[in-house]
């Protein structure tokens, strides 16, 4: 048997010599969410766009229609502000967690 490659893992101030699993190494690092970033919560395609860059929107305003799982999902502005950047076009197919709009 080959000797495993050990790393270290710190828990409550103690550093343990131990192996890390692939799943642990590949885990998603947490980042603070940006409230003005509108991200796809489900993979789908954009079937209509209702805003332009520079447009003022109020929280709840319709930004686009995202078709996913045979449903037309209304994507609304999460906050009031200006649409500073649009990353998508009509007809785009998007994966989950894709950035669609930025509102400031």
């Amino acid at each position: 048997m080959s000797t495993p490659k050990y790393d270290s893992l710190e828990i409550d101030g103690l550093k343990y010599k131990t192996q890390l699993t692939e799943k642990f190494i590949n885990r998603k690092r947490w980042e603070a969410p940006n409230p003005g970033a509108v991200i796809t919560y489900i993979p789908g395609s954009i079937i209509d766009l209702y805003v332009k860059e520079g447009q003022e929107v109020k929280a709840g305003d319709l930004l686009c229609l995202l078709e996913a799982m045979k449903m037309h999902n209304k994507i609304q502005a999460p906050i009031s502000g200006t649409v500073t950047k649009i990353y998508v076009n009509k007809g785009d197919k998007l994966p989950k967690d894709a950035l669609m709009f930025e509102i400031k």
């Binding site: 050990y6 409550d12 101030g13 103690l14 343990y16 131990t18 699993t21 993979p43 994966p95």
Partner: protein, 514 residues
């Protein structure tokens, strides 16, 4: 017709059915590196012990020209036989017949043998090799799946149910294996997913191979859906047979006892564990050092490796071992390892298998990812499973037993029957560093040299509390034992627990944190 002619006619009819989907289809099956359904059944069961039922069942479907098609046995073989002389029920989907697709009669055959297994209190082995629902039969095939799932659930905890994935198992079909106790997969042959690569690609634009999406490795290492991984079908059949030697035929029986054998001499229990609590070792060596013939059948070997679960024997009696694995992620409990342990403990409890727990763990895995994944509700499964279990429960604390981990790993407080600790045990709310930093915060801050003071205080805490004697003085530990005594003491504890009887409050069922 004379009797002889009748018999000849019967033989001819049988011969036709035995050809399954015909020569071409059987060739294709072999080209995929797969055995046929019949070959599989024969390889698993004792020689010549298989008896088949419902051989002449045919589908009743009329739509889409189905009335012109003959599907022998409707794509599934069912029957009874023996393994090491003990009866089992078995079914095998036949991929050579219409891709093993599941229609109404196909499902009825499966549910017939399931009903039989439950009634006769014998294990059920299901071999899955099917393209999925037979679309021509529409809602009838969906009904068929539902009837199977219902029976899987009814039989759960009454008879052992084994699912063997030897081909595709896609869509709704995956939920039968998921409801059973043990899932066996074979590299390059097993494929399990809810939606296949084609759909994933068209709907989501994600390009992935079948193997990457739901191959044997994925389910053994990442998803945790499979319990046993093999490189070939024959290796898989050996695993099935071996597992069946360890488990009882129903919840009303005990596993068959074997002649007692000492552990093999190369496993020297006093040489395995480094005394420094931060140093790793393989806890499976401790299990092998106490198990008969050092024989340990690990379950979910590649999934959540920070906890080890599986079967062995002590003095001939089957034991379910649960052990923290310090060589992987320091042996922490996290979402996956909690799920793995919780499920295994419940299997042991349902099937009258005593549980021996080896504890050496620093606590739960910290981090945003774990908290957001729900380590609270996942971790709770371990507490629930241990608390709920009424089989003999014995814990040996090898080294660290910190905090929530100490409570979770079958502590006295969850009603362990016996609590033992090695002299190397450290039973405390947390590791000495963390504890000293909190308790002596003021002293450390006020000192001229805080680092020096911290070291002194950590040493002081370690000396006073990082040992088994505080817990032993309160009766939380029954006995501090020498490592060499472990097997002898485990054997004794199991012996004196053989008539264990506990009353639990009457209820319909508990509500475990699923």
């Amino acid at each position: 017709m004379s009797l002889k002619r009748n018999v000849l006619d019967l033989r001819k009819r049988k011969e036709i059915v035995l050809q399954g989907g015909g020569e071409e289809a059987i060739k294709k099956q072999a080209a995929m590196g797969k055995l046929t359904a019949r070959e599989r059944i024969e390889a698993i069961l004792d020689k010549d012990s298989f008896h088949e039922y419902d051989m002449f069942v045919e589908h009743q479907s009329k739509d889409f020209d189905m009335d012109k098609k003959v599907l022998h046995g409707d794509g599934v073989i069912i029957g009874t036989g023996t393994i090491y002389g003990e009866p089992v029920c078995i079914y095998a989907q036949d991929f050579t017949v219409a891709g093993g697709s599941l229609g109404l009669m196909h499902a009825r055959k499966i549910t017939k043998i399931m009903d039989h297994a439950l009634k006769m209190r014998v294990p059920l082995i299901g071999i899955n090799d099917s393209g999925g629902a037979r679309i021509q039969e529409g809602v009838d095939s969906l009904a068929g799946y539902g009837e199977i799932f219902f029976r899987n659930t009814q039989a759960s905890g009454v008879i052992p149910q084994l699912s063997v994935i030897l081909g595709p198992c896609a869509g709704g079909a995956v939920y039968s294996p998921a409801l059973t106790d043990f899932v066996f997969v074979v590299d390059n042959i097993s494929k399990m997913f809810i939606t296949g690569p084609e759909v994933v690609k068209t709907v989501l634009g994600e390009v992935v191979t079948m193997e990457e999406l739901g191959g044997a490795k994925v389910h053994s290492e990442i998803s945790g859906n499979a319990h046993f991984f093999a490189h070939s079908e024959y290796e898989c059949f050996e695993q099935i047979k071996k597992l069946l030697t360890f488990i009882p035929w129903s919840n009303e029986a005990k596993a068959k006892p074997f002649p007692s054998k000492p552990p093999r001499p190369e496993y020297k229990i006093e040489k395995i564990i480094p005394s420094d609590p931060t140093q790793p070792y393989d806890v499976r060596d401790v299990i092998r050092a106490v198990a008969d013939d050092s024989d340990f059948l690990e379950v979910q070997q590649e999934f959540a490796k920070n906890i080890v679960v599986g079967f062995g024997r002590i003095d001939g009696e089957t034991i379910g071992f649960v052990a923290n694995q310090p060589s992987v992620l320091a042996g922490v409990l996290d979402c996956d390892s909690s799920d793995k342990a919780g499920r295994f403990i419940r299997f042991c409890d349902a099937f009258n298998i005593p549980i021996v727990t080896f504890e050496d763990m620093p606590g739960y895995l910290p981090g945003v990812e774990q908290e957001h994944m729900g380590v609270i509700r996942h971790g709770a499964k371990v507490l629930y499973a241990y608390s709920e279990a009424t089989v003999p429960k014995i814990t040996v604390i090898l080294r660290k037993a910190y905090g929530g981990g100490y409570i979770a790993m079958n502590s006295r407080h969850l009603k362990a029957d016996f609590m033992f600790a090695w002299p190397t045990a450290e039973i405390a709310v947390m590791g000495p560093e963390g504890a000293a930093n909190i308790i002596f915060k003021k002293e450390i801050m006020a000192a001229e040299n805080p680092n020096e003071m911290r070291k002194i205080k950590v040493a002081e805490y370690r000396e006073k509390f990082a040992n088994p004697y505080v817990a032993a003085s309160k009766g939380y530990i029954d006995s501090v034992i020498e490592p060499e005594e472990t097997r002898k003491i485990l054997k004794h504890s199991i012996e004196v627990s053989s008539n264990k009887s506990v009353l639990t409050p009457a209820k319909k069922h508990g509500i475990p944190p699923f």
